[in-house]
Each structure stands twice: as C-alpha cells, then as structure tokens.
C-alpha cells in the first residue's frame, strides 16, 4: 500500500509528460489526485504494513502530513484544471513590464505537479534519514519547473534563487545526516542503521556532540526549505512568481514537508535526552521568523509576497510551538493543518484577483468585493482565517500554543508571540481590507462572473478551516495527540 501511494503519482507524472491531448492530461491529474486521496483515506482505516525493510513506514507524524498534502493537492488539482483552461496555449502580455512571454509546455507543468506530489509523499512515509534527504531534495527539483512556468525573467530569477539557496541548504542537511551517522557509529566499526527506529532504540549510545552538531545542520538545511528566517530569502520570490496554484502547493504542502525533516531531528534528540537543546533553537528561530514576517508584511506592496511573508510567520509559529513542547506541540501540529488549508485557499483567491486586476500591486487593487463578489468576500474572510481570529481553526491552534507558553512559565516568549501576532494582524488587515473595500478602478468590471473551478476549491478549503475551528473530528484529535507524542510533546486533548 505504501508502495502504491508512491508509485501512483510517479507513474502518472511520467505519463503526463507523454500525453498529447490536454483533456486526457487534465483528467489524469485530477484522477491521480483523487486516487491518492482515496489511498490515504484507506490508510486511516487500516494502517499500512511497512515496506522495503521498514525504510517506508507510516507513523502518526507521517500520516498527518501525508493527509494534509493529499487533501490540498486534490483540491488544488481542480483549481489547476480550470487555471490551465483559462491560461490556454497562446502567448501572454506581462502585467508588469508589457513584454510578451509564453508559458512552458503544459505537459511539463502537469508532470512536475504529479512528481512533486510523489516526492512529498516519499518525505512523509520514509523512516530512513538518508532517504528522507533524497526525498526533500527531490521536492526541490520537481517544484522548480513549476515556478518558472511563466517564461519571463522574473520567474527565472525566482527559480534560480530557489534552486541555489535550497540546494545549498539541503546540502548542509546532508552533512547533518552524515554527522548523525557519525554519532551512531560504534567503535567496533560495524555498520549502524540510519532508520529512525533503530537510532532511537540505541539513543543513549549516540555521541551527544556529533548529534548536536548534526541537528544544527539539519535545522539549517531543512529550515532553509521550510522558510524559517533568516534563511527564507528564496520564499517570497518563488511564491510571488509561481502560478497561484503552484504557490498554494509550495506554501501549504512543501513547507510542511521540510518541517517533517526538522521534526525527525527533534524526535531523535528527544530520545537521546537532548530535547531541550533542539527546543531552545526552535523557539529562537520561530520568534526570529515571526519578527521578519511582521517587518516585511507591514507596507508590503505585492499581495502575493504578502501571503508569502505570512507563510514565513506561520512556519515560525509552528517551530515555536514544537520548541515550547507540551500542549504547544499539539497546537503546532494542528496549526500546520490549519495553515495549509487557509493559505492554499488564499493563494487560489490571489490568483483570481491577479487574473481580474492584472496586477500584483496592493495599491492598485481596490473594491475586490464589488468586482469579484465571490473571490472578494473569500479574500476578506480569508484575512480573518489566516490571522487567527475566531471561529477559525487558526485561532484554536494559536491559542493552544499560547497556552503551552504560559504553562511552561515562559512569559517573555508568550508576550513576544502575542505582540508579533498582533503586528502581523494589523499589517495584513490594513492591506487586505483596503483591497477588498471601495470601488474597483477603471477597466475592472463590477460583479464579474467567476468560473466554478476558480472559486469552488477555495470555498471548500475555507469551509474546512471553519470546521476545524468549531469541531475537531475525534480521529484527527487522536492522530494529532499521537503525532505530538512522537515529537516529544505531552498528550493533550481539545
């Protein structure tokens, strides 16, 4: 079953490169996404058997992030089909500079989307640190062509930054993986296994010095990919220049996968009795990320960059939550789910705004509610969903993290956290409300009809975000609790 869930998107992705007919290819995309989702749903009912000598084994953390990824991908695939239909095959005029550009072949875009899903699936299902590294690097390579889909120089620049910065980061993560291998090596020279379960079983024999150094490198490496400041510099460019559906997946699914890499490191530290070391680093990086985001969100002139910096903020919140431990770990994992759902939805809506207004400038977009009755309202509601207002799920998870900070008696961390949340709320609120209100400018029709494929996926995701704020299904709560325990948090229930 684990092999099947890996093979399905891989084979479909390779096939998509060869399919000539648009219709067939788009059907393949949606069909594969649905098939993937069905397989993941079946795993909830019956845990899959380990495969490949336990290199592939699904634990609670893996199942949680696999489910989020699969769900978001499925919803995004419907949006993608509509997007590709509207985009067509003709050349386009660049909004910002008036030059004409063409898109990369659609077959490449769809193929890379599916391979991207396959690589993210591998990240979540593997228990082997080496294979985890291979999988995270594969996500970079599969997603790079998505960012440069529009062939103009800004997207190329963003892709170049993304590839270079993430590849260097990931190379450091490989060094970190080797350091962990050194920490696990026995004086006798016999081969040590890089399986998490084996490493954790003999955790007290791990060399603490090498393990600490290895964790720092893993944190820097995967942290680069996750967008933790100050290593986030690729993130706003890539998210702003990629087509909106790719941005949604980068932000909602890819960053989570990098987070899985860090969680695996923290898991290992925890079993070796060094949990506090990793947690302190995570708290610092988390607060630094939130600060960077708050600074860049205020006065942001590009609404896709605004959402990208908001992702930096939320990654910071997740790192902070795991760093605080206890109930906050549960909150951080719940927050990962909430963030994926809401940010995916917001990026899709930003794509609709971009198509209608033909600009990414926050100042040029006015009266979104009147121009696009559905997307405009979604944009406004999405603001509250992303900034953690009740009754949305983000409110619950951010509150849980606050509770974790207070429980641990870390008043300064709690105060800083609240202040930064407030700053980001004010910054995003001012910009996004201004975009939604007022009259649309010249050249933008009022009350435009929107295609169902452009708005329905966003509505579905917003509905989920609302649902998670009102009621967390028991299965999900149990899974979150189990995942929290895996990474060293206390068991805690809503």
């Amino acid at each position: 079953m684990l092999l099947l869930v890996l093979l399905l998107p891989t084979v479909a992705g390779l096939a998509a490169f060869l399919v000539r007919a648009d219709r067939t290819r788009r059907t393949l995309l949606v069909g594969t996404a649905l098939g993937h989702l069905a397989l993941v749903a079946a795993m909830w009912a019956r845990p899959p058997a380990p495969a490949w000598n336990r290199w592939l084994d699904l634990d609670a953390v893996g199942l949680l992030f696999l489910s989020v990824t699969s769900l978001l991908f499925t919803v995004a695939s419907f949006y993608a089909v509509g997007y590709l239909k509207r985009e067509g095959h003709q050349a386009h005029r660049d909004f910002e500079e008036g030059r004409v550009f063409s898109d990369a072949p659609e077959a490449r875009f769809v193929g890379c989307l599916l391979l991207f899903l396959a690589s993210m699936t591998l990240v979540t299902v593997t228990q082997h640190l080496g294979l985890l590294w291979v999988a995270v690097e594969a996500t970079t390579l599969a997603s790079a062509p998505l960012i440069s889909f529009h062939r103009h120089h800004r997207s190329l620049e963003a892709t170049w930054k993304y590839l270079l910065i993430c590849s260097v980061g990931i190379a450091l993560a490989l060094l970190g993986t080797f350091f962990v291998a050194v920490a696990a090596a026995r004086p006798g020279g016999e081969s040590a296994s890089m399986l998490l379960a084996d490493l954790m079983a003999e955790a007290d024999l791990l060399q603490p010095g090498w393990l600490r150094a290895g964790f720092i490198l893993l944190l820097v490496g995967y942290g680069t990919k996750m967008g933790l400041a100050p290593l986030h510099t690729w993130l706003p460019d890539a998210h702003a220049e990629a087509p909106s559906v790719a941005s949604a997946l980068l932000s909602g699914a890819l960053l989570n996968c990098a987070f899985v890499g860090i969680l695996r490191g923290q898991q290992l530290l925890g079993s070796a009795g060094l949990a506090a070391f990793g947690r302190d680093l995570l708290v610092v990086l988390g607060l630094v990320s939130m600060t960077f985001a708050a600074v860049f969100v205020i006065r942001q002139a590009d609404f896709k960059r605004l959402l990208a910096y908001s992702s930096v903020e939320h990654m910071g919140i997740m790192a902070l939550g795991v760093g605080l431990g206890g109930a906050a770990t549960f909150g951080a994992l719940l927050h990962a789910v909430n963030h994926s759902v809401v940010k995916g939805m917001l990026f899709m809506v930003s794509g609709n705004l971009l198509a209608a207004y033909r600009t990414k400038s926050t100042l040029a977009v006015r009266g979104a509610v009147r121009a696009l009755p559905v997307s405009g309202v979604l944009w406004l509601v999405g603001l509250f969903a992303i900034t953690g207002s009740p009754p949305f799920g983000t409110f619950l998870s951010e509150l849980t993290i606050l509770k974790g900070a207070l429980d641990a008696g870390r008043w300064w961390v709690a105060a800083g956290y609240l202040a930064l949340l407030g700053a980001v709320f004010a910054g995003m609120g001012r910009i996004m409300v201004r975009m939604a209100q007022g009259e649309p400018g010249e050249g933008v029709a009022v009350g435009q009809h929107e295609a169902w494929s452009a708005v329905l996926p966003a509505v579905v995701l917003l509905g989920l975000a609302l649902l998670l704020g009102l009621w967390i299904p028991r299965g999900l709560a149990e899974l979150l609790g189990a995942a929290g325990q895996v990474v060293g948090g206390a068991a805690w229930r809503v």
Binding site: H128, G130, L131, W133, V134, E137, A138, T140, L141, A144, P145, S148, R151, H152, H153, R154, L156, E157, A158, T159, W160, K161, L163, L164, S167, V168, A171, L174, L175, F178, A181, V182, A184, A185, R186, P187, G189, E190, S191, A192, M194, Q207, W210, P236, D237, A240, E241, F296, Q300, R305
Partner: protein
C-alpha cells in the same frame, strides 16, 4: 592504509586552491571534473577492501557523472553563452587563495579536535572534506556568474561526499546512489535554467538578477 590515499587527499586540496585562483571558466570546469575523478578513485581505494562491488559501482558512477557528463553539460552551456572571458568576482583571486589558505588552516585545526568514533582511513580525510565544503560555499558566495555558482555547488557536494566516504560504513548503497541521482538532476535543472536565463537576458550574471526584492 593512509599512505595510499593521502596523495589523493593532497591533490584534492590543491584542486581547491587552484579553483579559488582560477579566472577562466573553462579551467574551472576542468578542475571540478578532475576533482570528481579524484573523488571516485578515493571512494574506490577506501571501500574496495570490504565491499568491491559497491566500491566499483559508486566510483564508476562518480567518475562517469562528475568527470565526464557534468563537464560536457557545462561546456555546452559555456559555448552557448559564448563566455570565456575572465570573471569579475566579488572577491579577487589573490585574496581568494589567501582566504583559502586560512580556511585550510582552520579546517585542519577543527579536524584535529573532532574525534571520530571510528578510525578513519586517513587523519587527513575529515579536514579535507571540510575544506572542500567550505571552498564550495565560498565560490557560491564570492563569484558572480551563475555557472560558477553551479560549480561551487558541485564542489560543496564533493566535500560532503568526501565526508561520507570517510564513514562509508554507515550510508547504504541505495542512499548514495540517490544522492548521486539528485545531484545529477540538480545540475541538469540548473543547466536548463542557465540556458533560459541566457536566452532571456543575454548574460548569465547572477548579480544582475536583482529585480525581485522588497
């Protein structure tokens, strides 16, 4: 068996220093190719004693990719871009070499203090690995051409792989092959991007990619 591999390790250090001082791109490509071949031979010598098949497979793969395939890709990119001229780096060549010597001293010092739990094939292995890694990072930061940054990435990767060879008991074959494959694809994708950048901008200077900022 230190005496067998020490000459190769010294050669790796020399290649690094030459790279720091090299201004012609074609020479840089050639040096990185030499480094790839050296690395393959190193893997062969360290591992052949206890696992011949694996050693031959990995060394062969490394030599084939890093010694032949990558240089060809690079040369193609160079020819396409029609750039052979001197680079204009952020950090000058003489200074780069001097800094390189400083990094070498630092890594020897650090390498002496890091104790490996398993006896390494040579006491030079860890310092050389770290020095190569640092050289790669330095090249990425201190050079402007996109193609030199790719070369820097390769050197960085070579350093990390050297470290992996130092503890080759640990990482199983499939992971190493996966690493090799990933690096291969990374270079390929970067090559394609360089190609596109050139078509779009008529230059491949990464420092002129500056339109995206806050």
């Amino acid at each position: 068996m230190g005496w067998e591999i020490d000459p190769i390790l010294v050669a790796l250090v020399l290649v690094n220093l030459l790279l720091l001082g090299a201004s012609r791109l074609a020479a840089c490509v050639r040096l990185v190719a030499v480094q790839g071949v050296l690395l393959g031979v190193l893997a062969l010598l360290v591992q052949v004693g206890w696992s011949p098949w694996r050693a031959v497979l990995l060394a062969g793969g490394s030599i084939l990719l890093k010694g032949i395939v990558f240089p060809r890709l690079m040369w193609k990119a160079l020819r396409g871009a029609e750039i052979r001229r001197e680079m204009e780096p952020y950090v000058g060549y003489t200074l780069s070499v001097l800094l390189g010597l400083g990094m070498l001293g630092l890594t020897v010092w650090v390498g002496g203090r890091l104790t490996l739990p398993v006896p390494a094939a040579s006491h030079l292995l860890v310092p050389v690995a770290l020095f190569t890694t640092l050289t790669g990072l330095f090249l990425i930061v201190a050079r402007k051409k996109a193609i030199t940054q790719v070369l820097g990435y390769l050197v960085l990767e070579n350093g990390i792989v050297t470290f992996g060879i130092a503890l080759s008991h640990e990482a199983p074959l499939s992971v190493e092959l996966g690493v090799l494959l990933d690096v291969f694809v990374a270079v390929l994708v970067m090559g394609i991007i360089i190609h596109n950048i050139r078509e779009d901008f008529d230059h491949i200077d990464a420092d002129r990619l500056v339109s995206l900022k806050d």
